[in-house]
Symmetry: C3
């Protein structure tokens, strides 16, 4: 039972100067860069009164704020409460789950406003931002939260900030390639957010492989109340996913349609998840891991196609399949990935984001390829795929091909980027904990002495047992 | 202390094939029915550009999506987080509360889209859906969540799915009778959702009466943290109830008015609930059961009348009364119902939904009967009660009579439907647990071993005590 | 170890008749006053159809409901879930935190509708209310929730209701002086809500100084799960703060701009908070108290200036500074205030609201003084500061001076008002607990017997230990 503690203790997890330095320097850089580049977009600027007149708008309600702000707030909740609480399922890593997610997302949205701004909102040397930029920044950070799920409990906050810096950058490049160069549709981000984010995270965790992780096996599970905290995250992700997939769709029918498709897909996904969760367990009991995660696969899997004419029953089919794939993944693939491929995936993002993200990309490609003027209407067809300007002559089947190419690009970016960033994070300077101290808040957090302290301080010889 | 375990153990709660079968078959049926019937409504269809032109709409903001989507999301939160977490108060039934609520609601909204669609959105052989249908589906499922409250902890997930199937069907029929045949107003569902849902659930639990339920008495209470989880549910229901009651009201002043009336009613309800909670307890201490539930009665009780000219002070009066009635119900009626009428009502839905629902129906009838052209304005009067077409000549007092008839119809549907469905659920094939295993997640869920495991596995001889 | 129990026990905390009496009498008064004064505003009244025609409005979407209702709901969540759960960090005061916050806010919004109505929405002897009034009532109550933070755990529910009655009154007077007499801008309430609320609460807690409070020191800390509950409050406050600061700004660009500035400020604040939390702790570990609170200072500190052309990088600077000030406050000022000035500030509102509120007032004054027609545009300039009518000739620098005067007035109102109300609350008739029973739910709540009961009932000789 006696473990070689000295080995783990040798790791220096002291954050006192490193973490403040990184946070303050980077925030300083943000201030300088924002000062140089970022300005209010026309609809948020005090000159809007004149703008309105020029654009012949008769009402303030035409401001994009009123089209997108409610969806923005829902997305915001998904990023901070949704992802944050979803990861609190671990018995002694709730502070890290919710707190580090908070930290990386708060930094990430600033950096994403800049990176995405340079690519998409840059004019006359300035980045002009509005509510759509805020949503896109949240989206971008969503892909980092996904990757965080793979390495949850095994990394220092500095590593997470470093990963965020690089991943946001790569995300923006990938997004630019897909949306601007390939002219691909991906409003809900099956490819840009989920596929990219998940395979990026899986590659990083592969590089950071810890052979002795079973030393902290006792802390890799949940307790009763931590599972309920995680359900808060699950439900907010599930409920607000229609807002996620519709947040940046075109005004009008596209936003409306995206919400309906996502609503349908998610509903179906719950039933197939429950079915397979029970079916794959010897005693037929439901597993909270599946309920917390696989029920969300339906939202991921319609991310690309939700704004298209997928139709409600198409959404039910996609949602049903993704729930099954995801649950099967938790039961069979995750152990396989860990034992054979040395991919230690704490939250099972392979099942919740990677596979459903691929499904989403493929469904998007097929739905685009199958589009007809009859189904969309003449104008609707052009508007839905933005077949204007140089893309005026693009046909649905060509669009489908480009959509498929988008998946491949996202995967390549994820693998190559993840490998490089994983290599950087492997440097022994970031203060990550020893294997035996993984999944334990006490390493980076002041943890209150409480009634569970005996259990908790088991591996912490520095602190005397509470009296 | 030794209980007759063999008796309870004899019950077969093995779900492995039954639950998956029901989930997969039914989801398959949904896919087929959606494929045959469900299509996007005009405002969610890609043909909307043409539609807009035909309807002379100058802006995308006129899409119903922007009038109702924020309210829809609030209602969605009420159904999944509100009802789900409200029921987590039991010390060892949090997974079942939140998880089974998730399952039944996810199935229910699909079935409700169909059932309500056939009655209300059917044209040329197709059901055309938009955001209002999503809200109505959530509403319909709300009545099932209410009924679930009465049988919480005593039923298998299959029973819940079977109940959902039938209750959604009956709800839709009842709603059709009220809204279309009686031409009754009930935007917040005092009658269709609360009165019907609650008396349906109470009838079902009466039929399913368990004489030996005191065997699981030790698990019928709460623990400190489970009461806090339940408060999450309470507060989200309380905060978003103005959205609930205004979600499907007419655009403009009616939505605005519904929200204000509900806000006022709920605020008043909190004060009278606190007053009576303290007054009715010997030591004058507040009871979390009342705070968690009776504070919401004010939302139920203005469900019918919120969109009418109830006026803010009228709302305060209704809210005050319903808080009192509900709290008194918890203290005196619930024990009486259980001991004398053999109605075992786990969450006390009789106090939170049944009685306030009746109050709501009556207040609605009175408010309608008292309506005058002076108070509503000539046009407002016609619009508020939809006195057009064949109803052009209906007077307020006649409307009041029909409103009252709506209460009676809802009650009849609830009693008859509940009795039949209760009989079906009594069949010994659905896998419900023995009395001594009620209110215990371990029967249907993989439960993590934790520091509370000793308490928890008391009745589970299969599992060895954790070391 | 034996404490002088008789001393504490001598205090009469029996609420049975006092609390119900106050609740019922006051609710009765609300009903009467609402009956005499409160009516639906034009946009919520059934006469809206006619109103629309008179105002030449072509669409129902022009109803203020659609401009403000989503923000209202976010603010509502901040008041009830945000503040309520933020204060659940104490190990045994979760019921009181969430429950008393619920009680005082539910009463406060009614009284605020009246008080603010008399000052701002009074016409022909009636108060006409709409969604903006609901938001303002929530805002007003927000200042009471802030003050509650200082006295959390040390007061009876009656004291809280009495404080609410007076504080709402004083808030409304102060708000009237600032907005109407000084013509000051303060849409997010840095001065009216935070500066006033916090210094009011700090003065009250100073007057109520308890010299023996260390007797309940063991209950002043958190436990692991209570810190996670508190994070729910933190995150909802953090996420929805952009809605808070933009909720009552002018339609269009002002709302849009407020949300962006607040989003930026809050993001920056998280990074500097994390940096200083780690830096100021000997072992470099993060402290949940800081993460739960100081991360929000950025929202407070742009409360006045968010709707102005603060610019995104200006917001980052303000957010960064306020995070630092707030964290430093928790580490150094709070102990100083307690030991030297006898200000016992349970939640550290001095750090989260008082100092950031002052920063917010000053930033607002500076931003106003620096405003130019070039930056705002000719029309935008007039609209932003409402330089119309008698204020037509006011210059930015004069406006800056008036803004600064607004800070001074708010401070004076807080100190004088807090001293008087503190004196009233010191009367020995309100049923507050003895020092040794502070921070303990058992005094005013029925608390379930649970696995932690041994710890809990330590100081409760009336109850036998659970078997």
């Amino acid at each position: 039972l006696q473990r070689p503690r000295h080995q783990g203790m040798a790791k220096n997890t002291y954050m006192r100067w490193r973490l403040p330095l990184v946070c303050l320097l980077w925030e300083g850089a943000m201030i300088v860069l924002f000062g140089v580049f970022v300005r209010f977009g026309a609809e948020a600027d005090a000159h809007w009164e004149e703008e309105k007149r020029e654009m012949n708008l008769t009402s303030d309600i035409e401001n994009d704020f009123y089209f997108r702000y409610p969806s923005f707030q829902d997305v915001h909740v998904m990023i901070f409460v949704g992802f944050g609480f979803l990861m609190t399922f671990l018995k002694r890593y709730g502070f890290g789950a919710v707190g580090f997610n908070f930290l990386l997302a708060a930094f990430g949205i600033q950096w994403a406003l800049l990176m995405q701004g340079w690519f998409h909102s840059f004019k006359d040397g300035k980045i002009f931002i509005g509510v759509e930029n805020l949503i896109n920044a949240d989206f971008c950070v969503g892909s980092v939260c996904i990757a965080f799920g793979a390495i949850l409990g095994k990394t220092s906050p500095i590593q997470l900030l470093v990963m965020t810096l690089f991943q946001v950058t790569l995300f923006s490049v990938n997004e630019y390639i897909l949306l601007n160069l390939l002219h691909v549709k991906d409003a809900g981000g099956s490819m840009t957010i989920h596929t990219f984010g998940a395979y990026f995270g899986l590659t990083v965790t592969r590089i950071l492989y810890r052979p002795n992780l079973e030393q902290s096996k006792d802390k890799q599970g949940s307790v009763y109340h931590s599972d309920l905290f995680a359900m808060i995250g699950t439900l907010y992700l599930w409920m607000y996913w229609p807002s996620f997939n519709s947040a940046i769709s075109d005004h009008g029918d596209a936003q409306h349609r995206s919400a309906i498709n996502t609503y349908c897909s998610l509903a179906a996904c719950v039933l197939t998840t429950m079915a397979f969760s029970s079916m794959l367990q010897k005693k037929g009991k439901l597993d909270m891991v599946h309920i917390q995660n696989a029920t969300l696969a339906g939202g991921v899997a319609v991310g690309t196609s939700a704004e298209m004419m997928l139709t409600p029953y198409g959404s039910l089919i996609v949602g049903s399949i993704s729930g099954i794939v995801s649950t099967v993944g938790y039961v069979y693939f995750t152990p396989f990935l860990e034992s054979r491929l040395h991919i230690q995936d704490t939250c099972g993002i392979h099942n919740l984001h990677a596979m459903p993200g691929l499904i989403g990309g493929i469904v998007g490609a097929v739905t685009a390829a199958a589009a007809t003027e009859e189904v969309y209407g003449k104008e609707g067809f052009i508007k839905a795929f933005d077949f204007t300007g140089v893309y005026q002559k693009r046909t649905p089947s060509v669009q489908g091909g480009f959509q498929a190419a988008g998946i491949v690009v996202s995967l390549l970016m994820a693998f190559v980027g993840g490998a490089i960033v994983g290599g950087i994070l492997k440097l022994p300077i970031w203060g990550d904990a020893a294997a035996e101290n993984c999944f334990e808040d006490d390493v980076y957090w002041e943890v209150p002495e409480d009634e569970e302290s005996d259990v908790y301080h088991m591996h912490n010889p520095d602190k005397p047992a509470s009296p």
